[in-house]
């Protein structure tokens, strides 16, 4: 006929060697998640259902119900979480609204300040509120007769530290909006308020529910804050700590953990249902909404943003200030004494180095594991297979498991003398693993979102060109998803640097992380050194974030010219 088909396959690559079956790799990932997530959770369940003699019974639950103070702790935990949610979500919504739907100047700065509580351990807020409103606080009079030590302080500090989590969700929820709906509402001459109620709010509804769930579970499982500022106010998270670390009563700890897990798991299931219904609320034809300057909206929003950002800076600033003055409020002389004391005499330097090591390892090992697993899930094999469903389920489960509960599950599972993995207990490895698992879900979501935005047919095209899937992963998938990969790395590093919850049960004297060391300092009454060490962590994570921004900027500019390429 012609030279076309007869001319041999001179151009063609040799038939691609069969890529290592994605199914096998996904199976390995599933196995890892089983061992480090499902089995510890299973251990938690079985321990709470076994009595001292190893018989199945509800004895521990009966015992729990009869324990004095437990009912109070349960009730306290709930109402505090409820109040925190009711305060945080509207604040974060307005703040996100100001960032996304107004014409305020310096939006990047407001966003950065709004997210700043993520940089330090949660107890930073608690320390700072003690300084502001405590017995010697500058603003003590604002609280009247009420003491900051107790529910008031817990609520304030939890609102502060859970705020960025809600903000992140709501900023995304408000980012995607269909400008055409607003134009239609304008054409129908709807009032400002009516537009808000009928267009803005319904579009952000799922984001609001998600944010509420996240804040609620954050509050329920938060442990550092009530420990520092809670005084005699009993909450479940601290009870677990007392039972497990103080009294070494693992069984009872398991029961309390399970009680703690239930509401959070409930929130998680509600959230999943809501998210499932959210799909396709925004079509490809949507036109992004662009706010126009309007001082009747922007004026009050600017005031609100200034106030809130100012308050957040005041909280962070007070912690930093506390770390460099001699003794509040009697001796305000500037000193680096707290840093010296903390690092040298209290030995936090070692803990700080431990934390750096843990955070780096968590990010270095967690990022590839999470991204590759998401890739295998999205791009290989039959998407509806049972294995895919299992991995997908396990990947989203950690969002519903408080760190404390995970930590107890780990003790029960890995500390068991018959467990072949017993050797992991109290090593760096287990601290790294528990961090990866604890923060798995949002990283997984980030990876999945990036992968889903790729054309579904890349793999098909490369197969037709006889290029192996591995080459396409390396040449196309990874470079295109690079921002998401870097984001996962940063998220893991910062969280591993600041977290307390799961680690507090799993460290050994050799692997003590800084965040726990700070908690111990505070417990010993050393507020100044505690603030100093917390500030050190903030400086570290902030420096890391800066470095990260500079590096990604450079990287994206140098190797990703295609992103900015336009006609």
């Amino acid at each position: 006929m012609n030279a076309w088909s007869s001319l041999s396959s001179r151009w063609r690559l040799p038939a691609a060697e069969r890529a290592p079956a994605g199914g096998v790799l996904l199976g390995l990932a599933a196995l890892a998640l089983c061992v480090f997530l499902l089995l510890p959770m299973g251990a938690l369940f079985s321990h709470s259902l076994l009595d001292e003699q190893g018989q199945t019974s509800l004895a521990r639950f009966r015992e729990f119900a009869a324990m004095p103070g437990m009912a109070t702790a349960l009730w306290n935990t709930f109402w505090v979480a409820l109040v925190v949610t009711l305060i945080t979500v509207p604040l974060a919504f307005l703040y996100a609204y100001a960032i996304q739907r107004s014409c305020l100047p310096f939006k990047g700065l407001w966003r950065l300040i709004g997210l700043s509580p993520l940089l330090g351990p949660s107890l930073v807020g608690a320390i700072s509120f003690i300084q502001w409103f405590g017995t010697q606080g500058l603003l003590k009079s604002w609280l009247g007769e009420t003491s900051v030590y107790g529910p008031v302080g817990i609520v304030m500090a939890t609102v502060f530290s859970s705020f960025p989590h809600a903000l992140m969700i709501l900023v995304v929820a408000l980012a995607s909006s269909d400008g055409r709906l607003y134009e239609a509402a304008d054409a129908l001459s709807a009032t400002r308020w009516r537009k808000f109620l009928t267009v803005t709010l319904p579009a952000a509804k799922y984001g609001l529910i998600s944010a509420a769930m996240v804040v609620f579970s954050y509050s329920v499982s938060e442990f550092g804050i009530p420990k520092v500022i809670g005084g005699n106010f009993k909450v479940l998270a601290v009870e677990i700590y007392v039972q497990v670390v103080g009294l070494q009563n693992f069984g009872r700890g398991a029961v309390v953990a399970l009680v703690l897990l239930l509401p959070v798991l409930f929130a998680f299931v509600v959230d999943r249902q809501v998210q499932r219904r959210q799909q396709a609320s925004l079509t490809a034809r949507a036109v992004p909404y662009r706010p126009r300057p309007d001082w009747r909206r922007d004026g009050p929003l600017l005031l609100f943003t200034l106030l809130l950002a100012g308050a957040m800076l005041a909280v962070l600033g007070m912690a930093a200030y506390t770390s460099v003055i001699t003794f509040w409020p009697y001796n305000l002389e500037l000193t680096l004494g707290h840093y010296r004391y903390g690092l040298v005499e209290a030995g936090v330097l070692g803990a700080y180095l431990n934390s750096l090591q843990i955070a780096l390892l968590t990010a270095l090992l967690g990022t590839p594991f999470i991204f590759v697993t998401a890739y295998l899930l999205e791009k290989t094999g039959a998407r509806q297979s049972a294995l895919h469903a299992l991995v997908q389920g396990m990947a989203s489960l950690p969002m519903g498991v408080p760190g404390l509960v995970l930590g107890i599950g780990y003790i029960l599972f890995f500390n068991h003398p018959d467990n072949p993995l017993n050797g992991l207990y109290q090593t760096f490895a287990i601290l790294v693993i528990v961090n990866v698992v604890h923060y798995y879900s949002s990283c997984h979501l980030t990876a999945l979102t990036a992968l889903k935005s790729l054309d579904r047919e890349f793999e098909a095209v490369s197969a037709s060109l006889k290029v192996s899937q591995f080459v396409t992963f390396w040449r196309v998938t990874l470079p295109v998803c690079l921002p998401a990969v870097l984001e996962i790395f940063r998220y893991l590093f910062i969280n591993a640097m600041t977290t307390v919850s799961a680690l507090v049960f799993l460290y050994s004297p050799d692997t003590l992380p800084a965040s726990v060391a700070i908690l111990n300092l505070d417990e010993a009454g050393e507020l100044g050194p505690a603030a100093a060490m917390a500030s050190l962590i903030i400086v570290t994570t902030a420096a890391f974030s800066l470095l990260y921004s500079a590096l990604t900027h450079l990287l994206l500019q140098r190797h990703q010219a295609w992103r900015s390429a336009k006609h």
Binding site: W11, E457, A460, S464, W562
Partner: protein
């Protein structure tokens, strides 16, 4: 044996039958278009040939080789998708060269090949641009160049024109057709656009609910549809159900019409009459198969007018007629007026299948 043979191919998604025992052969160098509404199985058929879906039963033979169970990479085809699927981080040159083997071809020949492919699709010198810098039509040309660069024996096109705007679509469709004829590469294209199919195909395969309804060249498919579905899906059509009263004539309501086909008296037939086959006659014209009709509606569409008519008399059904503006020469047709029209006997051909 045909170049590509599909034997009794069956595919089920749960309770949904995507492919219902498909039999098809494609000759070497042929341009075959799979046409049908969404969900008819045309895309599944293409993806099964590509190995991207696995059939439940049946065989696919390509150049005499059974490829039914081979992985996509072990088959020999190039593919172009509706979404272009260009790698956004690679420039045009790198995209086109993605499947080329630089080591085997040598650096110079490699570069020449890329240049040659870009010239072939009419975009020479664009190798340093990124896909985002190109229009949709240009991107699809690059995707075509990438698919053809490795000299595949079979070219698969999955709705390649659907994402383009109307003008670009028409332009690219004739380019693809010309390219295909110059290269002589056997090509299968999926589309839901009947005009596209008529304009490009050597043969059209009309599909519905996982089954092939008719295979034939564009002219046959249009003039002699086998059944209502094909008649209706391709172009506009009038379905006339009528009973033969003698070997030459049928009656429907008040109409008594002669058909050029040989009929058996007493049997019911279904005729497909295209709107453009209905002639507008002079009021006094007594030609064969002519009758008076009332104008229900007239839609002026520029080059032609679409007119809904109801033959005068008891039990008649409305007909859709198309009169070219050229023919009408400015004479208006008003709703409510009566016109004389006729259906030439050679356009009254019964359809072989009833359903």
């Amino acid at each position: 044996m045909a170049h590509l043979e599909i034997r009794s191919l069956h595919k089920q998604f749960g309770s949904f039958t995507a492919l219902d025992h498909i039999e098809l052969s494609v000759e070497r160098g042929e341009f075959l278009v799979l046409l049908g509404p969404s969900g008819c199985g045309k895309t599944t058929l293409l993806r099964t040939i590509a190995g991207l879906e696995r059939q439940d039963r049946g065989q696919i033979l390509h150049a005499g080789r059974d490829i039914s169970r081979l992985s996509p990479a072990a088959r020999d085809y190039g593919i172009v998708f509706q979404s272009y699927a260009l790698f956004p981080n690679l420039n045009v040159g790198q995209n086109v060269a993605y499947g080329l083997n630089q080591r085997r071809a040598g650096r110079e020949a490699f570069q020449q090949r890329v240049d040659e492919m870009l010239r072939l699709v009419g975009l020479p010198g664009s190798e340093n641009k990124y896909p985002a810098q190109l229009s949709g039509g240009q991107q699809q040309r690059i995707a075509l160049a990438r698919a053809l660069a490795t000299q595949p024996d079979l070219l698969l096109l999955d709705e390649p024109l659907s994402a383009l705007d109307a003008i670009e679509r028409v332009r690219l469709r004739s380019e693809i057709r010309q390219l295909q004829q110059n290269l002589g590469v056997t090509t299968l294209m999926v589309t839901h656009d009947q005009e596209e199919a008529l304009a490009m195909a050597d043969r059209i395969v009309v599909m519905k609910s996982g089954r092939i309804q008719q295979v034939g060249d564009p002219h046959d498919i249009y003039r002699f549809p086998r059944n209502d579905f094909v008649a209706d899906f391709i172009g506009r059509s009038n379905l006339i159900e009528a009973e033969a009263i003698d070997p030459q004539h049928v009656s429907q309501g008040p109409l008594r019409l002669r058909s050029a086909a040989a009929l058996s008296p007493g049997r019911a037939y279904r005729f497909n009459v295209r709107p453009e086959d209905i002639r507008l006659l002079d009021t006094l014209d007594q030609a064969e198969n002519s009758f008076f009709a009332t104008v229900d509606k007239c839609e002026f569409l520029g080059a032609f007018s679409l007119v809904t008519l109801t033959p005068v008399g008891q039990g008649s059904r409305p007909l859709l007629a198309q009169f070219s503006s050229n023919y009408l020469a400015g004479r208006p047709i008003h709703a409510g007026s009566t016109v004389r029209v006729g259906i030439p006997a050679e356009h009254l051909f019964p359809m072989p299948e009833s359903a």
